[in-house]
Amino acid sequence: MSHQPCAIVGIGQTHHKKARRDVSFAGLVREAAQRALDDAQMTWTDIDAVVVGKAPDLFEGVMKPELYLSDALGATGKPMFRVHTAGSVGGTTGIVASHHVETGRFERVLAVAFEKQSEGNAQFALGSGKSGSLGAGGAFAPYMRSYIARSGAPLDIGPMVAVKDRLNGCKNPYAHLKLKDIDLDTVKASPMLWEPVRFLESCPSSDGACAAVFTNQAGGEAAAKAGRQPAWILGSAVRSEPSTFPGRDPVRPQGAVDCAWDVYGQAGITNPREQIDCAELYVPFSWYEPMWLEAHDIAEPGEGWKMTERGDTALGGSFPVNMSGGVLSSNPIGASGLLRFTEAALQVRGMAGEHQVEGAKVALAQAYGAAAQYFSMWVVSNSLDPFGN
C-alpha cells in the first residue's frame, strides 16, 4: 500500500485566553472542532475517526479525557485515538490523523488538540508537585545561553523575536496575547524569569483548542473545485531522541536535523531557505526562533540570528516565521503544535487574514517537546507539486 495524498480542508481554533471560564472541557474542544467542521462544510456525522492530542493529564487533573470527550467530539460509534508526545503532541496529532487518511482506510478524520490548563497550574504539573520546579523555561535557559555563546548573537535578538511575534499576534483574532504597545525596551525591562530569559520573552499559559479536518485526494480536489482551497501535505515526520547522555547537543539536536531532512526529502525540498515561503515554528521562548532556523538548516550555523536581526523573519520579510504570533502569543500546551501545523496550512490556503504571507505556496510547521527531544514537522502546499517535479 502506498502513500495517498492527504488534504486539510477545515481548520478551527478557539479564542485562546488565560482562562476560558465560560466553557466546560467539552465546550472548549467543540468550539474549535465546530469551526473546523464549518470550514470544511461538514457535520459531525461526516467524520470517520477522531484523533485527540494533549499534553500531560496532570495539567487538568482529568485522566484520559478523550474518554469523557468521546461523545462531545461526535466519536460515538467511531474510532477515537489519543496521542501524547509532550509539547510536540499537537503536531503528532495532526500527523497521526493524516496517516489515517494516507493509508486509504479513512476518508475524513478530525484531529483535535487542546489544553485547559487554567484549571490546574502548569508549573506544578511540570514538576509533578515538587518544590523548586524548574518550569519549562528553567530547563531550556541553559540551551539558550549555549546558543547565544556559540553563535555570537547580540542579546537583543531574543527581545526582537518577542516583539515581532507579539505584534504578529495583534493581527490574529484568536491569539491570547495582543500586546500592541510592546517594544524592545519594555521587553528588556521586564523581569528576568529564567536567566537569560525575561518575562516578556516567554510564552503565556493559555486555555485553547485547535482542530483540523483531513481528507483524501478526492475530498481535497472537491473542496478546491468548490472554491475552498485545501492544504496538501507534502511530507510529515517525527523523531525522538533520549534526553540525557554525555555529549548530547540539545541546541542543535540530532532529532531536529533528521526530522527536518526527512520532511524536506518527502516534499522535494533541497534548499529549505529558498523553497519554503514561511514557517510556523514552536518558539515558546524567544531565542528558539534562531535556534530552530539553524537546527532545521534553514540558516547556516551561527546565521539564524542574522535572519531575525535583518527582519527576514518578520511578516513582510523574506522568510516570515510565526506569522500567527506563535507560541509566544498563545500557548495551550497540547494544542500549540497543532496550531503551528494549521497556521501553516492557513497560509497556503490563503486564509490567514491579516497575518497572511502574500503568495505563500509552501509552508513549514514544527513542534517540539520535552528536553528538545521530540519533534514533529510537516510541509504543506496549495499544490501537490509546487516545485514542478
Binding site: A26, T43, W44, D71, E119, N121, F124, S133, P196
Partner: protein
C-alpha cells in the same frame, strides 16, 4: 521487594462548568434536578450535545424527579476516601422520573438487603449546597426528598465553577541502582555507571545506557569526581504553587566533572551569590553533616547541599557553555 517511597500527587483543580453543566449544578442548589431535551429524549444529567450525532443541543431544560427508579446497583462494602459516603452504600444508575437516561449516584440504603433493581429512591439533599454533584448527599429509599441538616437555601448566583481536589498516593519502588546511588550520596559520594559498550558515564540511579539500550548495574559502578566546573546555568524566579518552598531567585548550574565526561545538571550552589555566577567557576561538592541533614528541606539532592566555588582560577574554554549534557 526492597525499598519503597511514598509520594502524593494532589492539586486543587478549579473547573469551569459551561452553560449546561452550570445550569444543572445551579439547579441542585435549588433542590431541583434538571435534564436536557433531545427530541423525545430527556438526558439527565444534562450534556451539551446529542450523544448519537454530536450535534449541539438547545438549552431546553426540563425539571425531572426528584424521585426515580433504580435501574442497576452495586454495593460498595469498603468505601474509599473519594466515595460520597464513609459507610457501605450502593452506587446506582437511577432513572429519575421524567428522564430517559439514568443518573449515577449513591444510594444510602443502610444495608445491601434494602437494595433492589426497580426500587424507588429520592434525593437526600445536603443542607448547604454549593452547586456540586454531591449537593445530593445520596439518594434514599422512598418517594420523598429530604434535607440533611439546616437548609441554607439556593446559591445566590448562578454556579459557574467547581473545585476538584484530586489526591493520589503512590508507593514507588526504589530500584537497586537508585538505592546504591542514594547510599553513596549518604556517604558523600557520587555513584556513576559506565556503559561497557560505549564507555559513556551516567549518574548512578539510571538503570541503563540509552544509546546502547543495555542495563547497567553494580558491576558498572564507578565513583565520580567531586570537583568540576560550571559550564552553564540559569537563575530561576520562583513561582508560587502548592508544594513550592522557594522564595528568592535561585541558581541551577550544570557541572562538568573533572576527568570524567559527565555533566551533572541543574545542581544547586552554595556560597555563590547569583550575581557572581558565571561559566568557568571551579566548584566542588558540599555535603551536609549529620546535623544539617535533619534541617534539609526535601530536595532531589539528598545529602548534597550544593556546589561551592573552590577559589581556584576559572576555566576559560568557549566550548564549556555547550556542555549541557
Amino acid at each position: 521487594m526492597s525499598e519503597v517511597r511514598e509520594m502524593t500527587i494532589q492539586f486543587p483543580y478549579k473547573r469551569s462548568l459551561g452553560p449546561v453543566v452550570g445550569a444543572f449544578m445551579t439547579a441542585l442548589t435549588e433542590q431541583r434536578i434538571i435534564g436536557i431535551r433531545n427530541g423525545e429524549q430527556v438526558i439527565c444529567p444534562p450534556i451539551e450535545w446529542d450523544p448519537a450525532t454530536g450535534n449541539e443541543l438547545a438549552h431546553d431544560f426540563v425539571d425531572v424527579g426528584p424521585a426515580g427508579t433504580v435501574e442497576s446497583w452495586s454495593w460498595v462494602a469498603k468505601p474509599s476516601e473519594q466515595h460520597p459516603l464513609d459507610h457501605p452504600f450502593a452506587f446506582a444508575l437511577i432513572r429519575i422520573d421524567g428522564a430517559t437516561t439514568s443518573l449515577l449516584h449513591a444510594v444510602d440504603a443502610g444495608s445491601i438487603d434494602a437494595m433492589s433493581t426497580g426500587m424507588r429512591v429520592a434525593p437526600r439533599w445536603k443542607g448547604t449546597r454549593i452547586g456540586h454533584i454531591s449537593d445530593i448527599d445520596a439518594f434514599v429509599p422512598g418517594e420523598v426528598s429530604e434535607v440533611a441538616g439546616d437548609d441554607t437555601g439556593p446559591a445566590a448566583e448562578p454556579v459557574e465553577m467547581m473545585d476538584y481536589n484530586a489526591s493520589i498516593a503512590y508507593t514507588l519502588p526504589v530500584t537497586a541502582n537508585e538505592l546504591r546511588a542514594e547510599q553513596a550520596n549518604e556517604e558523600g559520594r557520587f555513584l556513576g555507571l559506565k556503559c561497557p559498550k560505549c564507555g559513556r558515564l551516567y549518574t548512578g540511579g539510571r538503570g541503563f545506557c540509552p544509546i546502547d539500550a543495555i542495563e547497567l548495574g553494580h558491576e558498572h559502578e564507578v565513583d565520580l569526581p567531586q570537583k568540576g566546573v560550571i559550564t552553564n546555568y540559569t537563575i530561576i524566579e520562583p513561582v508560587p504553587y502548592p508544594g513550592q518552598t522557594m522564595t528568592e531567585p535561585f541558581a541551577r548550574v550544570m557541572v562538568l566533572l573533572d576527568g570524567a565526561d559527565i555533566v551533572l545538571g541543574y545542581q544547586p550552589t552554595i556560597d555563590l551569590p547569583v550575581t557572581d555566577l558565571h561559566i568557568g567557576i571551579r566548584v566542588e561538592a558540599v555535603w551536609a553533616s549529620d546535623a544539617e541533614l535533619d534541617d534539609l528541606a526535601s530536595t532531589a539532592e539528598g545529602r548534597l547541599l550544593g556546589w561551592i566555588p573552590t577559589g581556584e582560577p576559572d576555566v576559560t574554554d568557549p566550548e564549556l557553555v555547550n556542555r549541557i549534557y
